[in-house]
Amino acid sequence: MDFLTIIQVLDSTVRLATPLLLACLAGLFSERAGIFDIGLEGKMLAAAFFSAAIAAMTGSVWLGLLAGIAASLFLSGIHGLASITFRGNQLISGVAINFLAAGMTVLIAQSWFKQGGRTPSLMSEGRFNPIELPFAEALSDVPFLGPIYSELISGHSILVYVALAAVPATWWILFRTRFGLRLRAVGENPAAVDTAGVSVVGLRFAAVAICGVLCGIAGAYLATGLQAGFVKDMTAGRGFIALAALIFAKWRPWYALSACLLFGFLQAIALRYQNIDLGAFTVPVQVMDALPYILTVVILAGFVGKAVPPRAGGEPYVKER
């Protein structure tokens, strides 16, 4: 592989890692607060549809983004209602949300646009277009660093930078603010938070809402940044890869960034090359597709550093005697 190809693959890694990263951080907030969320996929999908649909109808990508976030928040609300208010099974709620999104997006898309469950293709103003960072053009001829800056770092849509900025922001919120302390506490021992006079329900809803916003941005990026419109099932399992990345990252923001970049890289490779010829043998593309999942299972098996989830995760909070 020559230098330019590497830059290209890395460039595509950044694009593909972005929705994973946003969804992964979304899951991080939720799960750190003790609410397991296997509905990331569904929330992203709903957001992808509504952002594309509203962007197509109004021609404004920003309105689209808002609509996507709103849709994702709505599903978060259902998840919160089920798992916080009614103390239902969080996993089952997540499964339901995934199906709800998979079905509703197509149903509404068909009803609104009559194009077989997709939105019309978005024109330029309906999309998040790449933004050129300053001097990208001028510096592109500088050897080595030039292409890295102009090709790899510059020229992504704004949401890519938002996602990258969300990593330190998440870290800062979790570990440097009062809200973060309480959020982590509620995921470890909600009774401690409750008896300290802080509302468990409020905190968990807040976490679930943040999760909704981030998933909303992730979905909007898919439909209006990475692609130009919604097609059915366009998340294609990214929510689950994000979940895998979250486990891989052991619920930590910076690790999440590395995990998502790794999985994005695997996707970039799988997209570009059908089968990878390693000389002695070829790696079929299906192996690349499955690799994030396989790696996660290996991590889960605890052979490479154990991933310990937040202790109160998955359990509804019931005041005990």
């Binding site: 995934n98 509703m104 009803s111 999942y293 605890g302």
Partner: protein, 364 residues
């Protein structure tokens, strides 16, 4: 003192949940500008109004019985097997291997061995997640999700690169030989003078599925293993005290669960497709979750819920055929059923409990 009689919990709660799901589904239909009454009529007509419709309804129901039982057995051991889809895919592989690479004199023999092989493949696919949960504490929900994707990739690889016959463009195996074709309900009922549509795919696997329901009933409520599975499901610490090995029960329950999910393949792969194609499971593994939740993990409940979902599936297919309502409507209904009977089940139960308590106080 119970807050609520057992029958209310077992019957009333799911029925009210189902009703809520139905009302919301109707609202969804209205919202997309269609007539829910007409839609329901069409669904009933298309799925129950002819032997053709019944044939499809029962065909789908057969799939859901297997996957519903699979989820239910795991539920009894307090495990959420979300990997039915992947296990059913592998079951398909098991069926294909038996049907393609071994000569069979008669379908009945082929069916027995295909069933065993499907169960073995499905169970094998459930083994690692079960083992990891039992030995290393990896959450089975996450591992089974991962295994679904890995199964899809594996099958994709095999169908494209290994099992696809030369010169064929579809990623699918060759047609299974004639002797492995299963008798359909048409063939079974003909000797009794009952005319059943020839075109519908419901087949002898339905009987296997019903036998599986009965067998699971006996397994769970009448055998020692079932006793141990339930004890473990209610209390792991209790199980340890009683000398019931959590590792053994986790693994065994998941093997049974995976085996049941895998057995679905005798219906869709051997009975209907008569070859292994991509995505032949059509999400039945996930519908098993809804079926088990609705059926309260009881084999008889699963049986009824499977038929209900068979109806929804066939009815939904008819809707897609004759109206502009997309087939995804069923996915929405399925989601609502899972939501209300599974996750929001306390929303129904809590007010109901209050109601019963009020009545009781009134009595006293």
């Amino acid at each position: 003192m119970e807050k609520m009689p057992a029958w209310a919990d077992a019957v009333l709660v799911p029925i009210i949940s189902l009703l809520l799901a139905a009302i919301l589904s109707a609202l969804v239909i209205v919202a997309i500008g269609e007539d829910p009454v007409a839609a329901v009529k069409l669904m009933v007509q298309g799925s129950l109004g002819s032997t053709y419709g019944w044939g499809y309804t029962l065909y789908y129901a057969t799939n859901f019985m297997f996957t519903g039982l699979a989820v239910a057995v795991a539920f009894h051991a307090r495990m959420f097997n979300i990997g039915g889809e992947g296990q059913a895919m592998l079951g398909g592989l098991g069926v294909a291997v038996v049907c393609l690479y071994m000569p069979w004199p008669h379908w009945s023999l082929a069916l027995i061995f295909a069933t065993l092989s499907a169960a073995a493949f499905g169970a094998a696919w459930a083994f690692l997640p079960a083992y990891l949960q039992a030995k290393r504490g990896s959450h089975i929900v996450i591992t089974t999700i991962m295994f679904n994707f890995i199964a899809a990739a594996l099958l994709n690889y095999l169908l494209v690169n290994v099992m696809r016959p030369k010169g064929s463009m579809d990623p699918a195996t060759a047609k299974f030989p004639e002797t492995t074709h299963l008798p359909t309900l048409h063939d079974i009922l003909e000797p009794f003078g009952i005319a059943f549509s020839k075109a519908a795919p419901a087949n002898v696997s339905l009987i296997v599925a019903i036998i599986a329901c009965v067998a699971v009933y006996f397994l769970i409520w009448r055998t020692r293993l079932g006793y141990e599975i339930r004890a473990f499901g209610h209390s792991e610490s209790g199980a340890k005290y009683a000398g019931i090995s959590p590792v053994k029960i986790t693994v065994v329950a998941m093997l049974i669960s995976g085996g049941l999910a895998g057995m679905m393949a005798i219906n869709n792969v051997m009975g209907e497709g008569e070859r292994l194609i991509m995505n032949s499971t059509e999400g039945a593994g996930f519908i098993g979750i809804a079926v088990a939740l609705m059926g309260r993990s009881h084999p008889f409940g699963v049986f009824l819920a499977a038929i209900l979902f068979g109806f929804l599936y066939q009815g939904g297919a008819e809707l897609a055929l004759w109206t502009s309502i997309p087939r995804e409507l069923i996915v929405v209904i399925q989601a609502l059923v899972i939501l209300f009977t599974g996750a929001l089940d306390n929303m129904v139960r809590m007010p109901l409990e209050k109601l019963f308590l009020m009545f009781r106080k009134g009595d006293a």
